[in-house]
Symmetry: C2
Subunit: 369 residues, 2 copies
């Protein structure tokens, strides 16, 4: 996201920077209040908030920024408190999802730091406590994620009536949560049930998972949420969704490519992490359909094996390249991106908002982290 500003008009860039800062300050202030409440009542539990605060300091803020420009595009005023609160709620929701996702995927790192369960494991070891460090890490991270999910909701409610019962924004927020959890479940299910399901539908299944767990959540819902909060018409929100869905798909396919081929120094995750976790992405689905029987057995054998070594990851990578899957994924990203830009041109928003959305779209699909 660092090379984003040059492509934005100065005023738009300054406005976006101010919003980012307001979200960071909002997050910091909100969590500081919660930390104070816990310190007063149960000081030992304040570490839960510390873990959340450290995690939410990082990240691209893609969802908050999309909500902001969705808000602005629907006529919301610059730097409004509602938009900042929505950004805070979205960032907290994302943090909650990441904390639990890292438990599920047994990920050691997140945003270049230890994942939350590993952070608590380390605390256990440093203190020389009793019983198993990994069980404590899991329990503490599970509870930190639950708290973060609750705080996300608490922050969202502070928006007031525009996000209250029966509002379109509330409907979107609810739908987003249900879909992310359903999508995460489909992802977990595919890891275990995928091998016994028809291989020729593996790409389609991967695309469905990707839409639920990521595409709609990362782009469609935040953008529409911002628009709904500002009272945007259903027609505007529909056009937002049509623009944002291919963007979210391209975003996630880029993520999948980075999960196998990304540079650990840039992604903050170990090389080939997705293979170790057994993620059945579009890349994997395509490879399964375009390789020999023995190659398929090799892939199935090593996918999801936590102890997979670097030479094997190298071998799997070259298999994915040889099968044409990497090229196919890059082609999909390109085609989806073309659709994104076409639909962006059709959005009934100001040139400033359009320019900001274009820059976000660029950053989302061209990123290396």
């Amino acid at each position: 996201m660092k090379d984003l500003r040059p492509t934005l008009a100065t005023g738009t860039a300054a406005e976006q920077a101010a919003y980012r800062q307001a979200v960071a300050a909002g997050l910091g202030g909100f969590l500081e209040t919660k930390r104070g409440e816990l310190l007063a009542a149960a000081p030992d539990a304040a570490v839960l908030v510390d873990a959340i605060a450290d995690l939410t300091e990082g990240g691209k803020r893609l969802r908050a920024l999309l909500a902001y420009w969705g808000w602005r595009g629907a006529g919301g005023t610059a730097a409004a408190a509602e938009a900042v609160r929505a950004g805070v709620a979205l960032e907290l929701f994302q943090a909650a999802a990441l904390i639990h996702d890292d438990i599920i995927d047994r990920s050691d790192t997140r945003r270049g730091k230890p994942s939350v369960h590993r952070r608590f494991e380390r605390q256990h070891r440093m203190q020389g406590w009793s019983l198993a460090a990994d069980r404590y890490g899991l329990a503490a991270a599970l509870l930190a994620g639950d708290l973060c999910l609750s705080l996300s909701e608490e922050a969202f409610t502070t928006i007031g009536a525009p996000a209250g019962s029966g509002s379109e924004a509330r409907r979107i927020f609810n739908q987003m949560r249900t879909e992310v959890m359903a999508g995460q479940y489909l992802d977990v299910l595919e890891e275990v049930a995928g091998p016994s399901r028809p291989a020729d539908a593996a790409v389609d299944r991967a695309l469905q998972i990707l839409r639920f767990k990521s595409a709609k959540y990362s782009t469609v819902h935040p953008l529409c949420l911002g628009g709904a909060l500002a009272g945007g018409s259903l027609e505007l929100l529909r056009s937002y969704a049509e623009f944002a869905l291919p963007l979210g798909e391209a975003f996630q396919i880029r993520d999948d490519v980075l999960g196998v081929f990304g540079d650990p120094a840039a992604t903050g995750k170990p090389a080939g992490d997705d293979l170790r976790e057994g993620k059945r992405t579009v890349l994997v689905g395509y490879t399964l359909n375009h390789c020999s029987g023995s190659e398929r057995r090799y892939l199935e054998e090593h996918l999801g094996s936590p102890l997979i070594d670097d030479p094997t990851i190298e071998e799997l990578r070259s298999l994915i390249i040889r099968s044409g899957a990497l090229a196919a994924a890059e082609r999909m990203i390109e085609e989806l991106t073309a659709t994104v830009y076409e639909r962006l041109d059709g959005l009934a928003v100001s040139p400033e908002v359009s320019g900001a959305l274009r820059a976000l779209a660029d950053a989302a699909v061209r990123r290396d982290s």
Copy 2:
């Protein structure tokens, strides 16, 4: 709860039965709608809702009933939709907490059925899926709990303005969630850090954990939430809390006694489950302070060992009895209960509400399950 009705006036009992039925119907209808949404979008994910629906069919509905009588005591009308929705939200929150609690405690059973993670493990084994069944069970249950937590919130929001931004009911709902998660964390922390902390403060630490993770959550917050929704004065809510806190404490100490001495046929949990899980309850804290050095080492050695056998559980039980801990716990329950009844008499509520609260209090502290 089965011997509750005889102590209630007929009209009150009928009103309470109608409310219970309305909450059950509300839960069923709400979850059916969610299930339908998932079936339409991602049929494979509907099992998450099935697990939640099965779990919420059971339970004593203590929290929902307290919310109801809190509502009625503050002038809310009988059978009002707001009170039913609050009950649905509280029951869903409780289900979410149980699903994640059972992951943390590695509990095999809940409400006489397999716990949710075991349910999903079993599905994995029956389907003959790939990779490890226990990892799949954990992941699926973690996501089912997250979904349940979100749905609890979604149900709560449908109450509308009385539970909206800035309302007292919302403040209580928020506080309840934070405190439960903090309390659960303190519980987990005590399991690992307890052995290296001063033994003579073990009972005090156990009481603090009990207040956060259970007492306030099980009684104070539901009762006050109901009262706040009906617009009860802060004075009334304060008197609710003063009545409900000792009730919640007695309720949880009863739970701790049942966790060590309860009849598996009545509790739906294996005998001595709390010892296996390493729960450092008031019972354990008291025992540590009233036994010999060798007994203490024996207790520390076996607490939290998943493979602890039945003869050892028998030995630990007799140690707890010998130390005077069981008698002390029963005495605490008695004293707390006396305070409860004293404060109940001081509540400015109708005789019907007072009678209903008395019956709930009886059932909470005299139960065997």
